[in-house]
Symmetry: C2
Subunit: 109 residues, 2 copies
């Protein structure tokens, strides 16, 4: 059963997902399934149908690149890597995020 609280969290997650993806890839290259796991650990649950198109969009924007790598089991994995442009964008997102946190704190006080 889905709670009201789940809806709220899903709603809030929108728009910051791109920031999360770049943050994850900034630490270490990763493939989609591992990104999903990491997001889950951080309580930012996303499904495949959301993540794959998002990765493709960021790749098309030049924020990410990727390379194929054999898997120890199963089909090959598409490892995504953040680019210089991606790192630059991540820096701007840091500012944008911090500003938004401050804005909300202002509204909330």
């Amino acid at each position: 059963m889905e709670t009201t609280s789940d809806n709220i969290r899903a709603q809030m997650r929108k728009g910051v997902l791109e920031y999360c993806i770049l943050s994850i890839l900034n630490k270490q290259e990763a493939y989609a399934s591992s990104i999903l796991e990491e997001l889950k650990k951080a309580n930012m649950i996303v499904v495949e149908g959301t993540l794959y198109p998002l990765l493709i969009r960021q790749k098309n924007q030049g924020l990410l690149s990727y390379r194929w790598e054999e898997s120890p089991q199963g089909p090959p994995r598409k490892y995504y890597v953040i680019t210089d442009k991606g790192r630059s964008q991540l820096g701007e997102m840091d500012s944008a995020w911090q500003e938004m946190v401050d804005s909300i704190e202002t509204l909330r006080k």
Copy 2:
């Protein structure tokens, strides 16, 4: 001219707008134009075409009610007021927001 940075901020704003509206109305009742002003002050710029439908949605969900009041100049104003249900939802949004801030901090570290 719109900068990349503006796009990022617009993108991040999505999904937290409902939270902002309830936060504003939790402090004091207000009409659409005054809400727009307050959002602008907090650097969360939104346009009419976004705000009006959002207020109507929240009203239909029972989070807000409203009353008409004469304006000192111009047409009457529709003052929105947060309801008990709205305050309850706002409480949940506080938790959701704080969790998201923590999650992002975790991802970022």
